[in-house]
């Protein structure tokens, strides 16, 4: 098969990104324009502001990516785009731009599910082998996905309420340490000890997660200390909170691996950048003879490179779309 170059666009949240990926595994050029500094002022992503910035920046990001790749549109074989799930106004900008490029240059259009993108981010670092279990942890998602073979997804479990990244953000806000919460809390936790007792959420036999109870427990604890005018040790709270998060995630993940006799797992999504979580999972996997891998840190957070990687395998499966493709704020992977 001849080499295939895919130009991919991702705009599902607050990053406007364009990438060119060769054969689903080689990052030829990636441009990511993050809006994080803008949303930090508001303590979280404001959807309408995110959409406004995507519109403003979309063509500049595409142009920059093409320049960086030193390729021309003639050398691009297909256009891939995240069409869901995500913030609808944000997704729409990427989808309309991708559809227009596909139409203008007469290229195939490949619709990519955002989570499929996060999973295939791994293929940019190491060729994925099947069957495998993918743990997807990000600001908007916490899912366990079983892949029997290439581009085949079966969701085993997911969060029943808040996503893991969302929970970190809320906890960070309650203890007043800023946004985004993940990196801040992970760093603080390195300096703390497990002092506070927090409940292990959804301690059952399912592969599902729940974080709203844990979040409430942290909020209640903080209020309780505040009322008693006792100072809370923030580093210790961060450590106590993160320990529980890692315990629940490793427990459910290990159960899914063992029950289904899966020997390989990959970690994906923005929260995969969390060092303690990665190390916690790696340790459990080593103890149980399971191969565990995760993408390079730069491919953990939202980027179009992972969409280009996933798009290649989607295209091999014959998945394409027409110019009536619409963005979907919620979209099932399977």
């Amino acid at each position: 098969m001849k080499d295939m170059y895919i130009l991919a666009i991702e705009s599902s949240c607050d990053e406007t990104s364009c990438a060119i990926v060769k054969n689903g595994c080689e990052d030829i050029a990636t441009v990511i324009l993050s809006q994080i500094d803008i949303h930090t002022n508001f303590g979280g992503v404001v959807p309408e502001i995110a959409s406004r910035h995507h519109l403003k920046n979309i063509t500049m990001v595409i142009e920059e990516c093409l320049k960086k790749s030193k390729l021309t549109m003639d050398e691009i074989d297909a256009i891939a785009v995240t069409y869901g799930p995500g913030l609808i106004g944000s997704l729409l900008v990427g989808v309309e731009a991708a559809k227009t490029l596909a139409m203008v240059y007469n290229k195939p259009l490949i619709p990519v599910h955002h989570i499929a993108g996060h999973i295939y981010a791994n293929n940019l670092t190491k060729k994925m082998e099947y069957p495998l279990l993918a743990l997807v942890v990000s600001g908007g998602h916490t899912e366990l996905v079983y892949m029997k073979d290439e581009y085949q997804f079966e969701k085993l479990g997911e969060t029943l309420d808040d996503a893991i990244g969302e929970t970190y953000d809320k906890v960070a806000r309650v203890i007043g340490v800023g946004y985004p919460g993940g990196p801040v809390i992970d760093k603080m936790a390195q300096e703390g000890v497990h002092e506070y007792n927090l409940p292990l959420p959804l301690n059952d036999n399912s592969y599902n997660f729940s974080f709203s109870g844990l979040k409430s427990a942290v909020i209640n604890l903080a209020h309780n200390y505040e009322q008693r005018d006792v100072e809370l040790n923030k580093a210790n709270l961060a450590k106590s909170f993160q320990d529980v998060v890692i315990e629940t995630i490793t427990k459910k993940t290990l159960k899914a691996l063992k029950d289904n006799d899966i020997k390989r797992m990959i970690i994906s999504g923005g929260v995969a950048a969390n060092k303690s979580l990665r190390e916690g999972l790696k340790k459990v996997c080593e103890e149980n003879g399971i191969e565990c891998s995760y993408p390079d840190l730069k491919y953990c957070t939202d980027n179009a490179t992972m969409i280009g990687a996933a798009g290649y395998f989607a295209y091999k499966k014959g998945i394409t779309a027409d110019s009536n493709l619409n963005a979907k704020s919620s979209l099932s992977l399977v």
């Binding site: 002022n41 508001f42 404001v46 309408e48 502001i49 959409s51 406004r52 995507h54 519109l55 403003k56 979309i58 063509t59 500049m60 595409i62 142009e63 549109m73 609808i88 106004g89 729409l92 900008v93 989808v95 309309e96 731009a97 559809k99 227009t100 490029l101 139409m103 203008v104 240059y105 027409d322 110019s323 009536n324 619409n326 963005a327």
Partner: protein, 215 residues
């Protein structure tokens, strides 16, 4: 030269291809929440019927708002991406100006207005005799606008709107006269496609709230 006109700033899609200043293909269709599904297919459809390729489009005129935030972004993303990709000169125009220019009603003053909710409008006041705006477009309380108009003779004023708006004047529905609009704006200075942006006329609620808190 062929010109593409595109307006997705309301629940209607208004798009046309013009050749030598005449409309040769046109779509005026209420699409509501389905603008994303159908806007690009309709443009493709017009081109296919008239056997026109994108390379023949010599200019794009894109309506950039005010109106539905999402709708504005759908049309502008298509327009700016196409303009950037094919190096086509692009000219933005305000939806309120397009509305004012489309009026052939026999009134001295034309007030194009779009419902902005909570008794607010996006509106301007156009002097149809002198062909200029006597009130620039703005996000304005409907009562404030009614007061602003009090000094003018009531019979000399008409609103143009497709929305249910709370005003004391005649309201004519909006039906874009695309040939006329394009004829007037086509020789304006084109802008760099990268700089094409929405004319929202209104900050986001989060920004408004932050501004209030700062004051």
């Amino acid at each position: 030269m062929k010109i593409l006109y595109l307006d997705t700033t309301s629940s209607f899609l208004y798009t046309a291809i013009l050749e030598d200043n005449k409309v040769i293909a046109e779509v005026k269709e209420e699409l509501g929440n389905n603008l994303s599904d159908y806007t690009l297919p309709r443009i493709e459809g017009m081109m296919k019927i008239k056997n026109i390729s994108v390379d023949e489009i010599g200019k794009i005129i894109a309506v950039n708002g005010p109106g539905s935030f999402t709708g504005i972004r759908i049309g502008l993303t298509i327009a700016k991406t196409m303009a950037w990709a094919k190096n086509i000169p692009i000219i933005p125009i305000s939806s309120l100006e397009a509305m004012a220019l489309s009026s052939d009603a026999n009134y001295d003053y034309v007030v194009p207005a779009i419902d902005a909710r909570r008794n607010y409008l996006y509106a301007s006041i156009y002097d149809a005799k002198n062909n200029n705006f006597v009130m620039n477009e703005q996000y304005i309380n409907a009562d404030t606008l009614n007061i602003a108009l009090e000094n003018l003779s009531k019979d000399s004023i008409t609103f143009i709107s497709n929305d249910k708006i709370n005003v004391n004047y005649d309201v004519q529905p909006y039906d874009p006269k695309i040939e006329k609009i394009v004829g007037i704006v086509k020789d304006r200075e084109p802008v760099n496609p990268h700089s094409i942006d929405a004319n929202y006329l209104k900050m986001t609620e989060a920004e408004e709230k932050q501004k209030e808190e700062l004051n």
